[in-house]
């Protein structure tokens, strides 16, 4: 199962490292990363694979949030985005 992690907040050192460390620890495989600055906010989107993971989607979100308390984190199933934006 694949999920999308989004991280939005004030730009600072170590955001990517902070999120990917949690992923590595929970055996979540990072497939793709895109990041940019949108309206002065740092914005990162990661496509990850949870098929070998030790956590569920809500648990992963909680763990990333704990490790990155200053950022707004969302982890959602990839199908939501596919169904909404692709015909």
């Amino acid at each position: 199962m694949r999920a999308i992690i989004t991280v939005v907040g004030k730009d600072m050192v170590g955001i990517l490292a902070g999120v990917s460390t949690v992923c590595a620890k929970e055996s979540v495989n990072v497939l793709e990363v895109t990041q940019s600055i949108l309206q002065e906010f740092f914005c990162m989107v990661m496509l990850v694979d949870l098929s070998g993971a030790s956590v569920t989607v809500p648990e992963l979100q909680k763990k990333i949030e704990e490790a990155n308390p200053d950022m707004t984190i969302h982890v959602m199933h990839e199908d939501i985005f596919n169904s909404m934006h692709r015909i």
Partner: protein
Amino acid sequence: MLNISDILETITMIQEENLDIRTVTMGISLLDCGDTDIARSCEKIYEKICRKAGRLAETAEAISAKYGIPIINKRVAVTPVAMLCGISGGDPVRYAETLDRAAKSIGVNFIGGYSALVQKGFAPGDEALIRSIPEALATTDLVCSSVNVGSTKAGINMDAVKLMGRIVREAAERTKDRDCIGPAKLVCLCNAPEDNPFMAGAFHGPGEPDTVINVGVSGPGVVRSAIAKAGKDKNLNEIADVIKRTAFKITRMGQLVGSEASEALGVPFGIVDLSLAPTPAVGDSVAHILEEIGIETCGGCGTTAALAMLNDAVKKGGVMASSNVGGLSGAFIPVSEDAGMIAAAESGALKIEKLEAMTSVCSVGLDMIVLPGDTPAEVISALIADEAAIGMVNSKTTAVRVIPAIGKKAGERLEFGGLLGSGPVMEISRVSPKAMIERAGRIPAPMQALKN
């Protein structure tokens, strides 16, 4: 990978604009539960509901967690109970108690189907069920009731309309110590759909399969915000396109959740009901969409036209997003459940007469309107007749869910809590329709019925 702004748009819709799945409703046929012994009949009903829908709440919660989408209500709709009353006889309230008990045991929010379809007349069981509605609603918590009094094909059963005015009043009187909650769970319909997942009008029609999953989506906040983002310089054609695109996205989510639930429960997927269903929460209002389109306050001139466009664009956008569309599908305008409608009614901008006009172009009818406590039964009956006439002539569903606020007058309010919200008491015409209602009988089906 997907476009970053598409991803953020979806997240904003869910997190900030109250996009949610309003309800996953399981329809269950009780036709095989009928028994000439009412006790045995109730036993079979309880067993079947628990067997078929026992995992509904837990499955919906699992899907909600998996996708990160809130699913607000889990509901069950059953075969109109009047049909079972016809077989068993006895006190229909026993069925209401059984449904209430089953709903509580499986952990759903509402159970609908304490209903009778009497558009052409009363069959065995129908009248007994209707007369028992006030007691059934006063003694149960989760049971919702509906009565279909008219249709384009059959005309309007004015005997039933006359009776329903009294039933609505009585339901309010029996629950006057609880803000008259009884009639908030009772709706009179014309052209009632058999697969509607929304309460209080949900029931499992006799043409439906044994069990089925129907999904109702919501998202007025998302539509309002999309119109706001489009800007003030867009013309109405462009605004209609914005609504269509947004409705498409909302409905796709409903389709995803519905097919997932249907697979997990091993129950066929029925329909997605593409309705904009407001809640009292800030930013979840249909009235605010109309105001965003450009009406200063909902209820002013232009409201009906704006609503007509909104309703049509929602359908056009949604219909391609789902394999099967059904139920009510359109915009809901329940007064007490919509922060913008409440404010408009309190300010005097929105009146019952305007709401009636609005119901001729949107998906439902006069919904969650609080009337003065001394409104006579025949005025309520006449209001139901007016609304049924709009539905009958325009071949659309219309409904009346009004709450006489016993002991209160215009300017005061009722608090229902939860999704039902709170509503100001609204003025209604005092001109007496008594002589017409006393005539009773039937209004014949209109020419529109003769399509064959």
